[in-house]
Symmetry: C2
Subunit: 277 residues, 2 copies
């Protein structure tokens, strides 16, 4: 009954760690941010797979009972390799499938009924077309009619990581990517990068008021809870006296230290762990 | 009499490769862009040193007769380690010292006479304070009165790498970093990142017309020529029938392929080389 392992290329995945921690307050979390190699969003699928499996094995060796791939670029390009690396006994939750499934099956989140769905993400996420394939597959299985409008907005994550939120820059960057009106008809939008929740207001401002922003971290936390429960891995209220969250990064700088607290929304202490040794 | 080795964290150093190629058309170039690990600008000094010395040794083992550290973050944090790794026989030219020296000694570039000098660069470059120390040292040695105004503008390199030039975004990003008027009194500005020459017009537009933009790639190419000449390593017109430029990256994506041609200003073919093997 070890901790829940959560990893990202950097500190964006802390938005998912936050949602998991809120939903599952009895669980402990071991977070790993691969700050030595971020951003993944511009890297090749092969390299993303190499980094992701290395981290997943580190989390496995640290005793994690489940792994959340809290990075859309890694979820989109390395999910199969991560599952293979850690074996069937360890549930692996990604960022893509729970969100896509929420468009077809209501799970305490109001994504059901969204039909023309916009998606923004890194170049690696959009190029992989995993969201597209997952939607096509569920459209077929459930006679669905969800239509996806996806666009890579690569500079946005860097802008957020640099502290440009509550600021005009993210809006201007997004506007530059969307000025052709590609999203004019969507009814909802998936923030397909774990950094983006920090600029959800700026995203809303750029789109008609009726467009719903789909809350990926919360949906993924719910999927995590469900799978832990199904496998009998969920801790009850009395089963653990004290939770112990740990946060590791592969390269520790002052900027990441400050950023981590913004993303997680609270004081955390970061340790540096070099996986290449 | 091998090629000139030039490296950067990514493709920005191609602005230096371009200047070197223009000034020394008889020389061959071996360029290495560490796209698997870019950007260096946010990484710790230790990690920048590890990556930089690995690349320098690769260039040495590939027969390079001189090495240009065409990355300000690496020049500012890893110069000593690179010099130590390749040994005294291989001249190592960095981005910082030739530019600072040009403020004191005219070398066919009009930096001499600049007294209040602005500097923009990555967080790793500015934090290292190498520009500051180099200026203080030459102020002392030459009774100089150069004053440095430096500021980190970390998002700017990512914006350029993402293709946001000839666009409003770089100006807006820069404006956000400089809106306190910190550069109001400078007479010149050093673009302390090899990506920045692509937005020199946007930098000019933000500053008074009298502010001179110091041309770092050209200055570094001149310093390279000087040291090759001093050491008898410069090829004459007739010494090589055909130059052969090679361009290597540690992670090859279509985006880097396109970006490389923009930065170098011409068709080039990129090869992927994994130095971690």
């Amino acid at each position: 009954m070890g901790p829940i392992g959560i990893f990202d290329s950097g500190i964006g995945g802390l938005t998912v760690a936050r949602a998991a921690s809120d939903l599952l307050p009895n669980e402990s979390i071991l977070y790993f941010g691969d700050t030595a190699h971020l951003p993944y969003g511009e890297k090749s699928p092969e390299l993303i797979r190499k980094y992701s499996t290395r981290i997943a094995l580190h989390l496995l060796n640290s005793g994690c009972k489940a792994i959340v791939v809290a990075c859309n670029s890694a979820s989109s390009n390395a999910l199969e390799q991560v599952r293979e690396a850690v074996g069937e006994n360890i549930p692996v939750i990604d960022m893509v499938h729970p969100v896509v499934e929420s468009l077809y099956v209501s799970d305490a989140v109001p994504s059901l009924g969204c039909k023309k769905v916009g998606l923004i993400g890194t170049r690696a996420t959009i190029s992989s077309e995993l969201y597209k394939r997952a939607i096509e597959s569920l459209n077929n299985a459930a006679n669905g009619t969800v239509e996806l409008f996806s666009r890579a907005t690569p500079l946005l994550a860097s802008a957020i990581e640099e502290g440009f939120y509550n600021d005009t820059i993210p809006g201007q960057v997004l506007e530059a990517y969307l000025e052709d009106g590609y999203f004019n008809e969507v009814d909802s939008i998936i923030l397909g990068c774990t950094h983006y929740p920090l600029v959800s207001e700026e995203v809303k401002d750029l789109l008609p008021k009726s467009v719903a922003v789909i809350n990926s971290p919360k949906i993924v936390a719910l999927a995590l809870k469900k799978v832990l429960s199904e496998r009998g891995l969920l801790l009850g209220k009395s089963s653990q006296l004290e939770t112990s969250n740990k946060f590791q990064v592969s390269d520790l700088t002052e900027n990441f230290r400050l950023g981590a607290e913004r993303f997680f929304g609270g004081n955390i202490s970061l340790d540096e762990v070099d996986l290449t040794l």
